[in-house]
């Protein structure tokens, strides 16, 4: 058996360059090699990996998070008038200044804020806000204007523009479905809920040692290069010329084989890291905490990932919001607090930037059912060891409203653009189509 725990780059270097016979490379590996080579030559777009690179963690709050009860304008009379039942009394609030404070459940976030690790961007949104979950999520995921439909995601375009030839684990989403923000012409990134799921499962029960099926599966994927070059160097004949064989559009076949190899190598790496690195700090129960726990382990293990994606659901609080939103804020706070503690322990907090977002905020006025309806602008958090702390943007007026909703004053693409330019060191204009005003958050 060949060694299975190696990166594709190592694999290429050792198996291919070691052979020093590039003309015998199978087409799909040759292309990969040239892509890597071109990338290495261009220091500007070189992908930082391993222990050096900066990392972005995107945390989606799905369903429309009530921004007003997350970052609360407790000193605004209009807030209390609009929310006689849902409004927090000033003495409950974790005060930031004499106007704003955090939801009482966000104790860990408040401590982080006081340590100067949190930026709060206020009034984030976009022109002509859409109040459909589906559509507004799509706008955030693709970074499109509200009246344009784009299929590629903003992170997918980042991978396309900046990480060609990079390891497929450059983007890792924790969940069942790949987020639309990862969508790209040539999909990059891996998605899994649990590391042990992201592997090829054999038909036979696992009895501790590798089955014949798995052994030959690995051969099918991995030994491609060495076997073919061996044949070519021995008899000099072109393999494709043997009649009666499956001949296919070589680029499609190359692409499939390369993806299979990528899957195999990523899967081995992810599993090995998941087995080796266990969290040293306690994480609470819940899906978000489990996702952040996996991400922390992947970071500890040095997976060459630039962007991680996690999500928390159930923010669509049309009724009975008080308990529901409190539970969500608590879950968010506890999970993020554990994650940050873990990263600090690892010594990786300086390398990681966590950004939250939700498709929209909620209506300023509460409804008759102790809930709130779909709204527009809302605040988001950007936190990390290297963040420039404080409040950014203006808090939107609670009386000058658009159909009952807060008016945005910071385009969400300003946040994306800043993160791309200053954190991921990628040209935001290429990814977002134009330049947006930068924020001093990093």
């Amino acid at each position: 058996m060949k060694t299975t725990l190696q990166t594709r780059r190592q694999f290429l270097r050792t198996s291919m360059l070691g052979a020093a016979a590039t003309w015998t490379l199978p087409v799909f590996l040759e292309k990969t090699f040239f892509a890597l080579d071109a990338m290495a030559a261009d220091a500007l777009t070189q992908t930082l990996t391993g222990k050096d690179g900066t990392i972005l963690v995107v945390l989606q709050m799905a369903g429309g998070n009530d921004g007003l009860n997350m970052v609360v304008p407790y000193a605004d009379d209009a807030y209390h008038r609009a929310r006689p039942h849902l409004g927090f009394a000033a003495d409950k609030i974790l005060k930031i200044d004499n106007y704003l404070g955090l939801n009482p459940k966000l104790t860990g976030l408040k401590a982080l804020f006081d340590e100067s690790h949190v930026a709060i961007v206020q009034g984030v949104g976009y022109p002509n806000p859409n109040r459909s979950h589906f559509r507004s999520t799509e706008i955030w995921q693709t970074a499109s204007d509200a009246d344009r439909n784009i299929s590629d995601g903003w992170l997918g375009r980042y991978f396309d523009n900046c990480c060609t030839g990079a390891d497929p684990t450059v983007g890792v989403a924790i969940g069942e479905e790949t987020p639309q923000s990862f969508a790209a012409k040539t999909p990059t990134g891996v998605t899994f809920s649990r590391p042990e799921q992201f592997r090829w499962r054999t038909s036979e029960p696992n009895n501790g040692h590798m089955s014949a099926e798995e052994m030959f599966f690995r051969q099918l994927n991995e030994s491609e290069a060495s076997e073919e070059s061996a044949i070519i160097t021995t008899d000099g004949a072109s393999i494709g010329a043997i009649p009666g064989k499956a001949k296919s559009d070589s680029s499609t076949m190359d692409f499939l084989q390369r993806t299979a190899l990528d899957a195999q190598l990523s899967s081995d790496k992810i599993l090995a890291i998941a087995r080796k690195y266990k969290p040293t700090v306690p994480y609470p129960q819940g899906r978000l905490a489990a996702s952040l726990n996996i991400i922390a382990r992947m970071i500890a293990g040095g997976l060459p990932t630039r962007v991680y994606y996690a999500s928390q659901g159930d923010f669509d609080t049309h009724a009975g919001q008080m308990n529901a939103h409190e539970r969500l804020m608590g879950e968010f706070n506890d999970a993020v607090t554990a994650f940050v503690a873990d990263l600090k322990q690892q010594g990786n907090f300086e390398r990681v930037l966590l950004m939250t977002f939700s498709e929209f905020g909620r209506r300023v006025a509460e409804n008759a059912n102790g809930g709130t309806d779909h709204g527009a602008a809302a605040p988001l958090f950007v936190l990390g060891g290297a963040v420039k702390p404080g409040l950014f943007g203006k808090h939107p007026s609670l009386v000058d409203l658009d159909h009952g909703d807060l008016k945005f004053n910071t385009d969400f693409r300003s946040v994306y653009g800043t993160v791309l330019d200053r954190w991921l060191k990628a040209p935001s204009e290429k990814v977002l189509g134009r330049k947006f005003r930068a924020l001093a958050i990093v």
Binding site: G63, H133, S151, E176, F255, T259
Partner: protein, 489 residues
């Protein structure tokens, strides 16, 4: 006349239908190319007269909304009613997916279903916004009835289709504030393509489509002349008091429209990157046939290009194709509706919920490390049964999506027995690895794979010796399906 043999027959049935069993391929080979194309393309009109699922009838959305609102105003718990409606919708859309996939699998007119799928991707509409399975069924029925007919007629029907109108906000377009969403996508995605119209055209066309409404009681299209903008408009050089149908005529009469549709058809049935010459040829065929789809398909399936080496077995199977063709190749039952739905979701093609108005990109976009690994593991579930244990079932319980349920409810629905391997492996070949691998290669790939693969399959059997039991045989089939070759049709 094209060369006609088992390989080309299988190719026609892969692309023009959803694949075929070994017996169907042999029958097709005997019938000959012309007869097979005729059988696929010239389906009787009543093939589209498909009885709807039992629940698919209007249920007066307005009354339901009033009921919820009334409960709300009375201060009662309206959530229960809302949840009930939501649950019913989840059940219905799940059933609609089952209903359609079964038609693709066993229906008498597979090309009709495949073209319906083509148009579903073309006029992409998602239940996530439409939120009513009846409207999704109604659109599916409209697509099927016109799938092989006239393109201009289909566009006119789609402009009056409630699901599409809701999806692109046409039903809310007022003459004081025409909504441009439908008008823009009509040009950009449905007819002429980007770069072939101006912003002015979009604005003027939006005015022409005012007055289109959906009656929420009957749930049908209704035209409201009072809401129509009767003023003069100028679209692509034509002026007058144009209405919606006039706009569609203007667009369909543009030669670029035939190119746009022709290219898309060719990509769907033949190859990802058609040459400009091919696009021109198919566009002129579309114009010559006055946008009748049936004769165009007949020409595609009879063309030399369709059977050329660069085309055969080079198309990455869509998840729909993967699911149905695999069921045919292994001569097995489809997985349960809930499993099929979840699997399609993880392979990135949820019927009735395309990712956006552009539909599915297809081709290489189907394959990422995650979806490829999922295909390999899904193959194991299909062959061996319960590999998808409840612990691996989806975790979303309160998901905003319609139609995904809690894992606790799933246990019974994901139960699956291993396939009957004797259906595809004759007993006398179990002891003959070389012959067995050749036989299965012909079935699964319809071609002999490169030696490297063939050798690995044979060596697997040798390594398992003396065990030639069902488990070993299923392991072989799984190994063969866990290859790049199996992803191609």
């Amino acid at each position: 006349m094209q060369k006609w043999n088992g390989e080309t027959a299988a190719h026609l049935l892969n692309r023009g239908a959803f694949g075929s069993t070994a017996g169907e391929i042999e029958a097709a080979r005997k019938k000959g190319l012309a007869a097979m194309v005729h059988e696929l393309v010239d389906v009787k009109t009543d093939a589209a007269n498909v009885p709807p699922p039992a629940w698919a009838h209007p249920r007066n959305i307005r009354a339901q909304r009033m009921e919820i609102k009334a409960a709300k105003n009375r201060g009662q718990n309206f959530q229960e009613k809302a949840r009930e409606v939501h649950m019913m919708e989840s059940e219905n859309i799940l059933d609609l997916r089952r209903w359609w996939v079964e038609r693709m699998m066993t229906g008498p007119a597979p090309l009709l279903e495949k073209m319906t799928l083509f148009w579903h991707g073309h006029f992409a509409t998602s239940v996530q916004k439409v939120k009513d399975a009846y409207w999704m069924w109604l659109q599916n029925d409209t697509l099927r009835r016109n799938a092989l007919g006239n393109f201009a007629t289909l566009v006119r029907k789609i402009s009056r289709d409630p699901a599409m109108m809701i999806y692109l906000d046409l039903h809310q377009s007022r003459k004081e504030h025409p909504n441009e969403n439908w008008a823009r996508e009509l040009m950009e995605l449905f007819t002429v393509g980007i770069g072939n119209y101006s912003e002015q055209d979009v604005r003027e066309a939006a005015r022409a489509f005012t007055g289109y409404r959906v009656d929420m009681t009957t749930q049908q299209f209704r035209f409201t002349p009072m809401q129509q903008d009767h003023g003069p408009k100028n679209v692509m050089g034509r002026t007058g008091a144009l209405n919606g149908d006039d706009i569609i005529d203007i667009l369909v009469n543009k030669p670029v429209c035939a190119q746009f549709i022709g290219r898309k058809l060719w990509r769907f049935f033949v190859e990802d990157e058609p040459s400009p010459q091919i696009v021109d040829a198919i566009a002129s065929s579309i114009r010559a046939h006055n946008y009748e789809i049936r004769p165009v398909l007949r020409e595609i399936f009879s063309s030399a290009e369709f059977y050329s080496d660069r085309v055969m077995r080079t198309q990455i199977k869509s998840p729909t194709q993967y699911l149905i063709q695999t069921s045919k190749l292994l001569e097995m039952q489809l997985p349960s509706p809930i499993v099929a739905q979840n699997a399609m979701r993880q392979m990135d093609q949820i019927l009735f919920a395309p990712p956006n108005v552009k539909g599915w990109d297809g081709g290489k976009a189907w394959i990422s490390t995650s979806t490829l690994l999922f295909r390999y593991n899904f193959a194991s579930y299909l062959i061996n049964g319960d590999a998808m244990s409840p612990a691996n079932a989806p975790q979303h319980c309160q998901d905003a999506d319609l139609g995904f349920r809690c894992p606790t409810q799933l246990t019974e629905q994901i139960r699956r027995d291993p396939i009957d391997i004797n259906k595809i492996i004759p007993a006398e070949l179990r002891e003959k690895p070389g012959e067995l691998v050749d036989l299965l290669s012909a079935r699964l790939f319809q071609v002999r794979p490169p030696d490297k693969e063939t050798n690995a399959f044979v060596r697997y059997l040798e390594a398992r010796k003396p065990d030639t039991g069902d488990e070993t045989m299923r392991g072989l089939v799984h190994l063969m399906m866990s290859t790049a070759q199996f992803q191609l049709a």
